[in-house]
């Protein structure tokens, strides 16, 4: 059985794999201003975790469990938000708030009725001890899916972000493309759930990208820059938490927030070209 180092190695490895999707998706989330949608999705994941655990332990359903529940809840919320924003745009904000809160509430209700010990804290704020080989495998798979969608459709995604009605005139399937992006974002929040937790995952998704977007660079460069930042910040957070005996997810989130402030400060001080 691995001790200490094995767990750390897993943590380093999963952030390495996740940085690919987080750099790309985070940049799209920031540029498309859908941070609150991403936040609602990641929080509603608790609902899926609760239902999944309840199915597994109380009902004895073999395919239950927190991970399938989390994935399902993330996808359902993403589809719901996507549908509302396409059909009833004025209600989007309200629905995002509702999914955010109701998703969490459902999770806590089911957890309270789940026999045995189920600690919501480790899902909310992450637990470095829980990162498993399954998580690594799924995160790698997600990275490939993200690259598989974004690389071939980069030009279409760029138009979609910049000017949606023009994208429609160029016959780009804007609704499908934006739904696809949101579904990938949903899966990404699940991928890093174990390490940083569903409340803090939004920080790791959006802050590196927000830092990249402070400086003028093309979108693909911002994606790479955000990915590298995501990797460096999470590694720094893991190391700090190891030596200072702090929770990993919170260390990463606080570091990312500090880095964002520094970036804004640098930008404000820089003379305008």
């Amino acid at each position: 059985m691995d001790l200490g180092l094995g767990i750390l190695a897993n943590a380093f490895f999963i952030t390495f794999l996740a940085s690919v999707s987080f750099g790309i998706l985070g940049t799209l989330v920031v540029v498309r201003r859908v941070s609150s949608a991403a936040g609602a999705i990641s929080h509603s994941v608790l609902g899926g975790i609760g239902i999944g655990l309840f199915c597994e332990r109380a009902l004895g359903i073999p395919w239950g469990g927190p991970l399938p529940g989390a994935i399902l809840a993330a996808l359902v919320s993403a589809l719901g938000i996507s549908w509302v924003s396409l059909r009833f745009q004025q209600r989007e904000d309200t629905v995002i708030g509702a999914i955010w809160a109701v998703g969490m509430a459902i999770g806590l209700l089911f957890l309270s009725k789940t026999p045995g010990y189920a600690d919501p804290m480790s899902y909310l704020f992450g637990n470095i001890l829980l990162v498993s080989d399954t998580d690594l495998f799924l995160t790698a798979l997600l990275g490939m899916a993200v690259l598989g969608v974004v690389a071939p459709f980069y030009r279409e995604i760029l138009v979609l972000c910049f000017d949606e009605s023009f994208a429609k005139v160029r016959n780009i399937k804007t609704e499908m493309l934006s739904t696809c992006i949101l579904l990938l974002v949903a899966l990404a929040t699940v991928a890093m759930l174990r390490l940083v937790g569903l409340i803090l995952v939004i920080a790791l998704l959006t802050l590196p990208a927000a830092i990249a977007c402070v400086f003028p660079m093309k979108l693909w460069k911002a994606m790479i820059f955000a990915g590298v930042l995501c990797l460096l910040l999470s590694w720094a957070g893991i190391i700090a938490s190891y030596f200072l005996d702090l929770p990993t997810g919170s260390s990463i989130a606080v570091l990312a927030g500090a880095a964002y402030l520094v970036a804004i400060g640098l930008k404000a001080r820089a003379p305008r070209a």
């Binding site: 920031v30 030009r155 972000c161 910049f162 160029r170 977007c213 003028p216 979108l219």
Partner: protein, 248 residues
């Protein structure tokens, strides 16, 4: 193929239960230069979106270049209002112009001819020195020109411009008028504006949109019809005199 560029018959469009366009019929032939005037909120932009199939109407028939808008719109050059584009997205002027080439050829990347066309249009509009600047860094007039370049990049058969003179200095407006005069006769031009000085001698017909669409011969466009359109007394200002235009 027929000579129609845009044809609407009995089109009705409403947001929820709020009617925006009522029983609109209009016909624009290929090569015609048409201005669409009207007050804010009168439905001008919606009319363009209906023509391009972005917002399908509840009833009525729409055709673009003799086909359904969805089939023909890749052959339309479209310039939405500049304020609708997102300045937070880091795109260079050249990347914006290249967007106009999407759907012209297949493939995953821009082809050599796509890049060549983009360079051509950039040069045509005097944007060559600015092509690597970010869109957000450009001035209002430069942004407008970039969006016009993007609309021209697909070698359009119809050019549809939404408020191309907003945020443009008089000099830029004059350049645009010259450009449109040059394109007139080659492709159909539909131009939405509330800038009356733009209704120049080159414009064939003027449509006034205020829920309904009424056609005015250009000669008839005097303070009387303006009153009718905007529902308040208005006075015509001869911008051309102020600007020293050659229009007399």
């Amino acid at each position: 193929m027929g000579h129609e560029a845009v044809c609407l018959e009995g089109v009705n469009f409403a947001y929820a239960s709020w009617p925006v366009l009522e029983d609109v019929s209009l016909f624009v032939a290929r090569g015609e230069y048409v201005c669409i005037l009207g007050p804010n909120g009168g439905g001008k932009t919606t009319l363009l979106k209906v023509i391009l199939g972005i917002t399908p109407p509840q009833s009525g028939r729409v055709s673009l270049l003799g086909q359904r808008p969805e089939q023909a719109r890749v052959k339309a050059g479209y310039m939405p209002q500049a304020i609708k584009s997102d300045l937070q997205v880091p795109v260079t002027a050249k990347e914006v112009v290249l967007m106009g080439r999407l759907g012209v050829e297949g493939g995953w990347r821009y082809s050599r001819s796509d890049l060549k066309k983009a360079e051509e249009v950039l040069a045509f509009l005097g944007l060559e020195p600015l092509k690597d600047r970010f869109f957000a860094e450009l001035s209002g007039g430069q942004r407008q020109r970039t969006l016009i370049a993007r609309a021209l990049a697909c070698d359009p058969e119809v050019l549809i411009l939404d408020e191309p003179t907003a945020n443009v200095d008089p000099e830029g407006g004059k350049l645009l008028a010259e450009l449109l005069a040059e394109l007139k006769g080659k492709i159909a031009l539909l131009l939405v504006t509330h800038d009356l000085s733009f209704v120049s001698k080159h414009v064939d017909r003027v449509f006034c949109v205020n829920r309904r669409v009424v056609e005015h011969p250009t000669s008839e466009l005097d303070s009387f019809s303006l009153h009718e359109l905007y529902n308040e007394p208005m006075r015509l200002v001869r911008h051309d005199l102020v600007l020293g235009n050659e229009e007399r």
